[in-house]
Amino acid sequence: MADHATHVEGLAHHFVSMEQQKEAGMIGMWIFLLTEIMFFGGLFLAYTIYRTTYPQGFLYGSHLLNVPLGGTNTVVLIVSSLTMAMAVYYSQLGERKKLVFFLFVTLVLGLVFLVIKYFEYKSKIDDHLFPALSLYNPASTGAHGVPLDLQQPVRVFLWIYFIMTGLHALHMIVGAGILITLIVLAQRGKFTKDYNSPVEISGLYWHFVDIVWIFLFPLLYLTGFHYTPGGGH
């Protein structure tokens, strides 16, 4: 009495209904995001401990960062979150053209973010602020005039900056890959009013990556925004 219902497009064989499949997919993505919270959380912990231990060092390190670029990236991601939400909305209405359009805009914005990031990193390296290559190299002590007693904390700050934003950028790259996949599938008409959960699930991931940046930007870039080195705050 094996119950084989008429084959429903997009329904995996081990689920009994589309509803069950969708619910499983959504909860699965949320639990995955839970793991991401704890993953980035370890780095936020390190940031918190060292910022509290070395307030001057973190002020100095932070003011070395490029707020206009970081701010632009923040705006880029916020707009991309809006366009992603629109894409999900149109996937639920089954409007293929608008879905593809908004997915594409989201992707472009994500790539803009990564390009800006590239230039940001490049300028850091050119300024001898990438700790592996310099900053403990006596020849570069003069660069940016980091005072001797702040060199260790500034170094720790910069490493935390590179690792946190680097990990974030890695997640953006994965997100871009997901978007490309969605665009191709959407273009082929894979998503309909009845089967669109991959778009919504991917949207959750994208928004999460945006949220991480919402915290990274003030903590890393804005901490030292009011700081003038050498002459009080």
């Binding site: 509803e19 069950q20 619910e23 959504m26 909860i27 949320w30 639990i31 995001l33 839970l34 919270i37 704890m38 959380g41 370890g42 936020f44 912990l45 918190t48 401990i49 910022r51 509290t52 231990t53 070395y54 307030p55 707020v67 701010g71 923040t74 705006v75 916020i78 707009v79 979150s81 809006l82 992603m84 939400a85 629109m86 909305y89 919504e200 949207g203 959750l204 928004h207 999460f208 945006d210 949220i211 919402i214 915290f215 003030p218 903590l219 804005l222 901490t223 925004f225 009011h226 700081y227 705050h233």
Partner: protein
């Protein structure tokens, strides 16, 4: 079992645009406030203000963009427990450093 305690609104676009504007305004606000040295008045003030604004922004994204406002109770529990567990990690570890005496001077001194 599926439990959609709230139905999605018929026209969510106005919610999305609303949140978008909120995010832009708060971003401008957090950059503007960061220009001021609030630490001069009270040490942690800059961080507290910045984090408060960030939490407001994140909450808006979670509730509206990620539909948690209209999601099942299970989803809401998952979100809250994620925040809570991060809080455990931060709070208990910080409690060690804060109660060592002498922190936040340089570690080990």
């Amino acid at each position: 079992m599926a439990d959609h305690s709230h139905e999605h609104p018929a026209n969510p676009i106005k919610y999305y645009v609303g949140v978008f504007l909120l995010l832009m305004v708060f971003t401008a606000l957090t950059v503007y406030i960061a220009k001021f040295d609030l630490e001069h008045y009270w040490g942690p003030l800059n961080v507290i203000v910045a984090l408060t604004i960030a939490v407001i922004k994140a909450t808006a994204v979670v509730l509206i963009f990620m539909h948690v406002r209209w999601s099942s109770r299970l989803t809401q529990v998952i979100v809250v427990s994620g925040v809570f567990w991060l809080f455990i990690l931060l709070a208990f570890t910080m409690s060690d450093y804060w109660s060592r005496g002498g922190w936040p001077t340089r570690l080990g001194q």
